[in-house]
Symmetry: C2
Subunit: 322 residues, 2 copies
């Protein structure tokens, strides 16, 4: 079923949807963030929340009921906390949409609707999860409240995958330079703003900590000036993700500060990949995370190569019970 | 004006409040979190959001209007981003409550209501900001939707300050042991769950990074198993904040893992300070952050002493324009 049909099917059953819950863990939580950020900013009536799955399970919001849409997400569809959250949402009467790469996975058991996304084919396919969840949020807003830039958003959806593939095709040399420069660092900080805030989070906790065992911290670059910036000094390693859109001023302010005190700074900037030339300014904010995540994947791959530490290497995950 | 009167005054002017926005920066953003977490979990109709101030300023949610309550917060009342957010909220017609320690500060200029809180007197006074904002959230819920545990919450408010003072009076030796053990660490991770999630964040970005220039990372302990736990190894330094309440199971699971692989682990546990014996189980979750923050203040002070690095020492903040 298309995203549009999923939401219209829910609306047929329940015209009075009041709340939308996004629920997932780790990278799959982070990939729900652009949709949550979009809907929270543009809805007048819908309530919008994002929970890590076990928060949703142990401290379930009282408003989860037949007036709720719950969107759960898990790449492999087997994440136990997210499977439990899906079952709990269903039990409470919510309209449940499971987003996963694996057909027939446990996540789909209690879902009313399932959205499958690609992964292996190419970099664009890896961004389908985040993009389709944003697509669901756009449908929810448009069908329940109306959204004046709906067509511009659809135009963006029609272009983003090609933009990602084009961006990654040219990024090899700068990604390799990043990897060479940061490969022995004790700690790497990652920050961004706007819809890309949790792309920084995901790169920090998943790509660096989980897949490379590199120490890392992450925060919103608007928060940078209210604490973290005191660790800045010559050669302290930062990775700054710069948006094209309304929050760019925050990213730029952080960059100015990093440069002023000679921090070791790498910038991944959506403007370098032509995002704003292709996508309308009214909606461009929400396509930064997909483009930047695609580019960052190459950065992570290069880091894995120069460190001789494959992105699939784990000591605990998939190997132990915990 | 008392918290209860502030909310009833707003209700007199606007019985149809739809949204509540919490807006602040750094520690003052983190101290809004327990209130946001409480209201998001217990409201059926009210929309609830928490923004770092410049997100609110640059990508202002369209729903900020005369049906909104906006609560801004700044200890000294001079944080430029939060002063701007207060003005913006007022300009958009919202009912604005400024929470600050400094009477007559810029934050109060455009506020309809001002809540002052203590700071210097003792540890309990330092927790007034967080506690009073939670008090506002409880009033909002009770007056606009009703809240069945309102009396138990009031009972908690009547006890929490004494509990904090009692806790800090006994914590010296363990805080000193923490400081001695962690003083030379390259990086310290801090995590928690539930209402205490952003106490971990605040300790990481403010107490460690800002006030001690120690590298740090922070995440929800439910997220720990979806990325960060791969950095765990013998003697990797962690600080785990354990709640008494519904999310304790997540904290315990993280502790088990840390112990299993011999991470250097310090636990600050609300159960060690009698929180659950004093405060009703239906509301105890929401008093963990105040108690644990009070205790953590002593940990930070001990770290400052053994490292000969006063908590007031800065290289950029208050010294430069940025």
């Amino acid at each position: 079923m298309e995203l549009k049909q999923i939401i219209s099917s829910i609306k047929d059953k329940q015209p009075n949807i009041k709340s939308v819950f996004f629920v997932g863990c780790g990278a799959s939580k982070a990939e729900l963030y652009p949709a949550k950020y979009f809907l929270e900013g543009h809805a007048n009536d819908l309530r919008v929340s994002l929970y890590t799955s076990n928060e949703f399970n142990f401290a379930t919001p009282i408003s989860v009921n037949e007036t709720s849409i719950v969107i759960t997400c898990s790449l492999g569809g087997a994440t136990p906390e997210s499977v439990t959250a899906t079952a709990k949402a269903k039990e409470l009467g919510a309209h449940v949409i499971a987003v996963t790469h694996v057909e027939g996975s446990a996540l789909t058991n209690d879902a009313d609707y399932v959205v499958f996304h690609g992964f292996e084919a190419n970099y664009a396919a890896k961004m389908e999860k985040m993009t389709k969840v944003l697509g669901l949020a756009v449908e929810i807003l448009n069908q329940f409240e109306g959204y004046e830039h709906y067509d511009k958003m659809q135009d963006g959806f029609s272009k983003i995958y090609d933009l990602i593939e084009k961006a990654v095709s040219s990024v090899g040399p700068v990604a390799k330079a990043f990897a060479e420069s940061y490969k022995d660092d004790e700690v790497i900080y990652v920050m961004s703003s706007g819809a890309t805030h949790e792309v920084a989070y995901s790169f920090s906790i998943c790509l660096l900590m989980e897949m490379q065992w590199i120490n890392s911290g992450t925060f919103h670059d608007g928060e940078f000036f209210h604490g973290p910036f005191e660790v800045v000094d010559k050669d302290v390693p930062f990775l700054l993700l710069m948006n094209d859109g309304r929050t760019r001023e925050m990213d730029s302010r952080a960059l100015d500060f990093l440069n002023r005190f000679d921090a070791k700074t790498t910038v991944v900037d959506a403007k370098d990949y032509g995002l704003g030339s292709a996508i309308a300014s009214e909606v461009v904010d929400y396509f930064n995370p997909m483009l930047i995540s695609g580019v960052l994947r190459v950065y992570a791959e290069q880091l894995a190569i120069v460190r001789n530490h494959p992105l699939t290497k784990r000591r605990y995950m998939w190997k132990l019970e915990y």
